[in-house]
Subunit: 296 residues, 2 copies
């Protein structure tokens, strides 16, 4: 009889692993300029759900990826995510004072420093991958995937579309495309990086893509549901922002009940796409459950 | 008898080459989101001296680097340079309205777009290198060098030190260290990328380092001299900014005459370090002359 997969144990272990990897791979505050490195650590090490790095480890478990490659990929993608949050919170974007229950970087430091923190975290992400201890082709594949997911045809492009959509009322197809770029691309990339590190075959990578597409959409629908139904203290960031900014969301376009049932259905779709991986897919399966049932 | 090296011809040819490479390697405006891609092109294709890409081609000529690798490296480093200018011009940094004789990106578009333009240009730089048509090890070497030069221990770090120095009066050693990171690192990196692409040996790379160190310092001294002696129309950017911001410069710390003679001496040092390359170093030699004698 195989041992029962203990997701809570996996989660505790790998959450600690993410924090250790960030601690090791970010420059220490003792490196000049100290204040910038301190602010970079404030941005990247201030908690958060760590969904993307956890997805890297979970997808890496589908093959036999070397742990240190997964550490590099997990840290790199979290650096990109952290940079996007720091820039997103700036006054010229969302102008947010609160993130992960603490003052945003431009509030805790200053705007110019926050700008540089985001810039330098992005650079560090690519540097970490370029210097990872693994085969050159694997590293380049990961760098290329991360760049495609985070640049103007991915995350940054999605943010640009989001900016243009204020007051314009996107329809459901437009909303989906915007979120597929703004949030979906980086979530998918996390799964992809794990799959690349695990050296999966093209058929397996295709199953992962199906998983990621469903998960990414579910993630955003749940985000919109939480923004509409939760409070700032629970979320650790400003709640009700979408309504306040008159932004279309899955909740405003679908209604709350339908949005919630869609998230559940997408969760099922994500899990179904893992069928071929057998018990090796259990961490990814549980992460899909976690994403849909989360409270923040 | 060898043909006389015609620098003006070389310059015309390679300046056109830079523009063509940018045109080819930046996303077209027809790619969604169009406004972001348009703004990225506005930022990167608005002229400028193109010193960094020209240094890539000139250093590449020391060996037999493949032209398309040099195109990728030249475009990547110009994308990083352009991103740094866009972010540097933002209201929370230098708050500049004029760049290369035209409105800055946040003036021509808006602040949020300028933020994303810088972010996405940085991503594109690494993506271009990762997807370049050459050996994997060469690409990784270039990505690693570019990240080190532009991140928190390089350009972005130098900008952070610059921010902290306002009102604090750096001494000459502090000013040199700040500029070595803020401007010097990326200029050196341009030369290094050319050298990597040309597959030079370690001894040759060391000569290039000497060249770059002298050139980088000369470049910044001349920048300070021009800021103190020229006007905004000639420079294509706001002149007299340093004095207005009460920032220490080579001119305020050394005096104008000494600064000018130092720049000349550094130019000589740069040229001397090329001795071992014979006639292959002529483009680099002429670029050192150009940097010191430029009027903007």
């Amino acid at each position: 009889m195989t041992a029962v997969f203990q997701f809570q144990e996996w989660l505790t272990l790998h959450s600690a692993r993410v924090e250790a990897a960030l601690e090791n791979l970010l420059d220490p505050v003792s490196t000049n300029p100290g204040r910038l490195h301190q602010a970079m650590r404030y941005a990247a090490q201030g908690g958060g759900k760590r969904i993307r790095p956890l997805l890297v480890y979970a997808a890496g478990a589908l093959g036999d990826a070397k742990p240190e490659i997964l550490d590099a990929a997990a840290t790199a993608i979290e650096c990109i995510h952290a940079y996007s949050l720091v820039h997103d919170d700036l006054p010229c974007m969302d102008d947010d004072d609160l993130r992960r229950g603490r003052p945003t970087v431009h509030k805790a430091f200053d705007e110019a420093t926050a700008l540089l923190v985001g810039d330098a975290l992005q650079t560090r992400a690519f540097e970490i991958l370029a210097n990872a201890n693994c085969a050159s082709d694997l590293k380049l594949h990961m760098i290329s995937a991360l760049a495609a997911a985070s640049g103007s045809r991915g995350m940054a492009g999605g943010q640009a579309i989001d900016l243009e959509s204020v007051g314009k009322k996107l329809d459901l197809a437009g909303l989906k495309q915007m979120h597929a770029m703004k949030t979906g691309a980086l979530l998918s990339c996390a799964v992809e990086l794990g799959g690349i590190a695990a050296q999966l075959d093209p058929g397996q990578m295709q199953c992962l893509e199906q998983y990621s597409r469903a998960l990414g959409l579910a993630f955003q629908i749940v985000d919109d549901v939480l923004d509409a139904t939760s409070d700032s203290q629970t979320l650790g960031k400003t709640a009700g922002k979408d309504a306040a900014n008159d932004k279309p969301t899955y909740v405003t376009l679908m209604g709350l009940d339908y949005a919630q049932s869609q998230a559940k259905q997408l969760q099922e779709e994500a899990i179904t796409s893992l069928a071929g991986f057998g018990s090796k897919g259990q961490a990814l399966e549980n992460l899909a459950l976690l994403v849909v049932s989360r409270a923040k």
